[in-house]
């Protein structure tokens, strides 16, 4: 299970992607954010999803994590079509997501946000009637933040009072703590400091080593090339190129994002300048 | 004030009070001509008796029954010398009256009593039911022979006075087979709303011949709607209460007759009897404050004038 089976296996049938999107269409009013987008990530693989602003990356992520239903197309988990009616379905499949808008509850504390929807209850009777073990959650939160090198005033501080980077750290911590199969990170380090960014990349590495899959959206090309096994490029709501990270340069990626380089046959058929993928 | 206990006289606990008196006078609600006249009567009696303070306080809507219960309770706590009030609801206020009596605060009711009404609590009021039944008769008289469509503008469904008048009127109507009640709408004691529903009733019932409107705002709104529709005179209005514009409407021929109570007398009797009871131990006895049917014919009579323009220069004679 390594980066090596990237491109091939996406076509082959033997090794099914953990999570796959096929022909996703998503419209908002008269804006077509996704126009038949494809995507796949395999077990133990870090795939970077890149593309220009407004290319549709975050929209695709929301579809993949059940936060927004697609209008057309299908999602497959381990090769089986699944209907993600809500984020609960995706979470049940072990998919955790850091959304670009963070999706934290401003009035709630750092600890409450980290455990949102997964609160620890007290043992015994108090737990049965739903009482929270706030202490345990505070402790757990402090630990998780420590691992990411994050400092917040207190774990009981409401999220509204945090700095931009602190907020993002909480969102990232929450996802990596709970994921069991796939972690989707939509620009997870955009607001992070140097140290915290490093930590997140370390976590991604360790997640891969543990056999998990990671989807990373990022505009930081050096970061993408450093951490990803494969890169999928979106443009105007479609996947237009796929690369193995080891075999590509920043310039290639930029070319693909601006439409100068296309590897996907459908795109080529539509008249785009067809060039073979690097390799 | 100095409270001095002289164990004599037959009233209540057999105590009388010397010196200044503080009386709570509570209407069903504030904000209508009717209750202001009650207040004027109460203050007149207090002034004539001397050394009596009237605490005038009430809830904002006649439907706020619980608010009135609380208010009476607060006056008992404040330990006023006596309470004179009009019950928004006969059953709901009965415990409040009893509680006042138990705390040694005598009570007199005006306009509307409670059920049950303790023996020692008098009632100075009009018979709403009878008055409304008579309104039906007046309407029948004004319309004469033949079949006629009539409408009823009530004010606040679910409030007790409203219920009594509606029931009285419909009972009265049942005596007149030629009158056909084709519409019944509430004004919520709001003139604009009264005008609106009346306008719509007139639209829906082009043959409407008569209207009974059951209180001040209802009458005013109904009269305006009829006037605006250009049907003054064609549609007979029997009203209730005697706000200045109602009287003016009567004179102008917009309104055929008004059922008029004697709110001044209610306030006056309530306070006067309470003061006598407190100072001299006289037991308080109920009295019908009377209802007058005012028409263009009798409006300038002395008797009606006394009701319409009450004044403290010429206070009503007790009983």
């Amino acid at each position: 299970m390594s980066a090596a089976d990237g491109i091939e296996s996406a076509q082959g049938a033997a090794d099914r992607p953990v999570l796959e999107a096929r022909g996703i269409v998503k419209r908002f009013g008269h804006v077509e954010a996704l126009r038949g987008a494809d995507f796949a990530v395999h077990r133990g693989e870090v795939v970077a999803l890149i593309g220009d602003n407004g290319a549709g990356k975050s929209t695709l992520i929301k579809v993949l994590s059940g936060a927004q239903p697609q209008d057309e197309g299908e999602i497959l988990v381990n090769g089986r079509p699944e209907r993600f009616g809500s984020p609960v379905d995706a979470r049940r499949a072990g998919v955790e997501t850091v959304y670009q808008d963070l999706s934290v509850a401003d009035d709630l504390s750092v600890a409450a946000n980290l455990y949102l929807g997964r609160e620890i209850k007290r043992r015994g009777l108090p737990g049965l009637i739903g009482l929270l073990d706030k202490r345990a959650m505070r402790r757990g939160t402090a630990e998780a933040l420590e691992q990411l090198g994050v400092r917040v005033p207190r774990v009981t501080t409401p999220i509204a009072m945090l700095s931009g980077g602190q907020r993002q750290s909480v969102a990232v911590a929450r996802a990596v703590v709970w994921a069991t199969s796939v972690v989707i990170l939509d620009e997870p380090t955009a607001a992070l400091g140097v140290v915290q960014t490093r930590r997140v990349l370390d976590v991604v590495d360790r997640a891969r080593d543990a056999g998990m899959s990671v989807v990373l959206v990022s505009h930081n090309m050096p970061q993408v090339l450093e951490i990803a096994d494969r890169v999928e490029v979106m443009r105007l709501g479609r996947r237009t190129a796929r690369f193995r990270a080891a075999e590509v340069t920043t310039d290639d990626l930029v070319a693909a994002m601006t439409g100068a380089l296309v590897t996907e046959p459908e795109e080529a058929a539509l008249g785009g300048p067809l060039r073979r993928p690097v390799n | 004030g100095g409270v001095d206990v002289r164990d004599e006289s037959g009233g209540g606990e057999g105590t009388t009070t010397d010196g200044p008196l503080e009386l709570a006078v509570v209407p069903k609600a504030v904000g209508h001509e009717f209750w202001s006249t009650v207040q004027a009567g109460a203050e007149c009696a207090a002034e004539l008796a001397g050394d009596v303070t009237v605490e005038w306080d009430g809830v904002n809507a006649e439907t706020d029954v619980e608010g009135q219960v609380n208010l009476i309770q607060n006056f008992v706590t404040q330990n006023v010398d006596g309470i004179v009030y009009a019950a928004t609801d006969s059953a709901a206020l009965a415990p409040a009256t009893q509680n006042a009596l138990d705390s040694g605060v005598p009570v007199a009711m005006i306009d509307s009593g409670t059920d049950p009404q303790p023996d020692e609590v008098p009632l100075y009021a009009t018979d709403n039911r009878a008055g409304a039944a008579e309104a039906a008769n007046l309407l029948a008289d004004a319309l004469g022979e033949g079949d006629h469509d009539v409408a009823l503008i009530e004010f606040q469904p679910g409030s007790q006075t409203n219920t009594e008048r509606v029931e009285g009127f419909t009972e009265g109507l049942s005596q007149h087979g030629n009158l056909n009640l084709v519409a019944q709408q509430p004004s919520l004691s709001d003139v604009n709303e009264a005008r609106r529903v009346t306008e719509d009733i007139l639209t829906a019932n082009p043959d409407l011949a008569g209207i009974f409107a059951a209180n001040e705002p209802s009458v005013l709104g109904a009269a305006q709607a009829v006037e605006a529709a250009g049907r003054t005179g064609e549609v007979v209005i029997i009203g209730w209460d005697a706000a200045p514009d109602e009287i003016a409407g009567l004179r102008d021929g917009q309104i055929a007759a008004l059922v008029v109570q004697n709110p001044f007398r209610m306030g006056y009797f309530g306070v006067q009897n309470m003061v006598e009871h407190l100072r001299e131990g006289t037991p308080m006895e109920s009295a019908d404050t009377g209802v007058t049917f005012v028409t263009p014919e009798n409006i300038d009579s002395e008797e009606v004038k006394a009701v319409l323009e009450p004044s403290c220069d010429n206070p009503p004679v007790d009983q």
Binding site: R91, S103, A105, D106, L145, G149, D209, M212 | V69, A91
Partner: protein, 350 residues
């Protein structure tokens, strides 16, 4: 206990930064702890200050104020508003609003009275029925908000109108009378010398406060009001929870309606007109935000009693009825301004 995924558990952190503030010594830490907890206490106190000030002022101004009777009176008089304000607070925290509380309380009250009068139910059975009626109305509100996604203002405005209509249809617009003495238990009865209505209010407030601040459900209520989409994405069953809040609130409104009916020993079809403003005001004066995510039961109780004190006080002091309303307005402004001002100072200056 803390289910950290393997990827996080691997090696220990390299640096010593923690989830706690500044790298300072134990004394500093103690000071920080004290400052934090004191400031909470002060903030609680702040919300109550207006109440306390008013309380002292009234004690001085009227000899009748500070008596057991009067205080019990105030307690009983405020019971219904307080119970329903607790319900309203839960809904406001979810970023909702319930305009139908007056109509639903009236509906529950008249139904409770009717089953006693006509079906011979005991007062306890009637109370259960009233709570059920309230819960049913809450369920409709909840489904309209959570499933049909109507704005809460619209959903509950419709219920306000429809509920009142139902009351009138059921009662024929005539109060429900001739109830047995026992019907007055909830409103006028006593337990060990304490008015039953006060006991009910205390139990309701404690239970609701506990639920909101200590339970998982409560946590989710705040989360939904703070960011509904985030709550949904966090896997919270928002539809179900939101509906549950309206049902629970409805049940409390039903209970409140029954206490109100019991207090006046009759079912009043016009009960509760305008009640929604009183209870929303109590919640907002107590610190709840109509924009969701914020609000506490303790604050709401303070708000409810503040309003009650103003009313009680102006009667005791014999203030002219017309001036009373002006004074109520001024006091509402002053109380909230004072509270806001101190909160802001607290937040801005530490």
């Amino acid at each position: 206990m803390f289910p950290v995924s393997r990827s996080l558990r691997s090696d220990p952190p390299e640096t010593t930064v923690t989830g706690m503030e500044s790298p300072t010594g134990p004394r500093d830490r103690l000071r920080a702890w004290l400052r934090e907890h004191l400031s909470y206490a002060v903030s609680e106190f702040t919300a109550a200050t207006a109440l306390v000030v008013l309380f002292i002022a009234l004690s001085l101004a009227s000899p009748h104020f500070l008596t057991a009777d009067n205080l019990f009176n105030i307690g009983s008089q405020t019971a219904v508003i307080a119970i329903i304000a607790v319900a309203q607070t839960m809904i406001i925290i979810t970023k909702g609003i319930d305009l139908s509380v007056g109509s639903v309380a009236a509906l529950a009250g008249v139904v409770g009275a009717i089953v006693v009068r006509d079906l011979g139910f005991s007062v306890w059975e009637a109370t259960v029925v009233a709570i059920g009626v309230g819960a049913a109305a809450g369920l409709v509100n909840g489904l309209l908000v959570a499933s049909a996604r109507l704005p809460p203002f619209i959903a509950t405005l419709g219920m306000m109108s429809a509920g009142r209509g139902l009351v009138f249809i059921i009662t024929g617009a005539v109060g429900v009378y001739s109830l047995p003495e026992s019907f007055q238990l909830l409103g006028n009865g006593e337990i060990a010398g304490i008015p039953f209505a006060i006991v009910i209010t205390a139990v309701v407030a404690l239970a609701a406060g506990f639920l909101l601040s200590q339970s998982r459900f409560g946590q989710h209520v705040y989360a939904m009001g703070s960011n509904l989409e985030a709550a949904r994405r966090a896997g919270i069953p928002v539809r179900r929870n939101l509906t549950a809040v309206y049902v629970l609130a409805g049940a409390l409104v039903g209970l409140g309606g029954m206490v109100a009916a019991s207090r006046v020993s009759s079912g009043q079809p016009n009960y509760g007109i305008g009640l929604e403003l009183d209870v929303i005001a109590a919640a907002v004066i107590g610190g709840a935000s109509l924009f969701g995510g914020q609000g506490r039961i303790a604050g709401t109780l303070i708000g409810a009693f503040l309003i009650a004190l103003v009313r009680n006080g102006s009667v005791l002091l014999g203030i002219n009825i017309h001036y009373q309303q002006v004074i109520v307005g001024l006091i509402i402004w002053a109380a909230v301004y004072f509270d806001q001002y101190r909160r802001r100072r607290l937040e801005a200056r530490g």
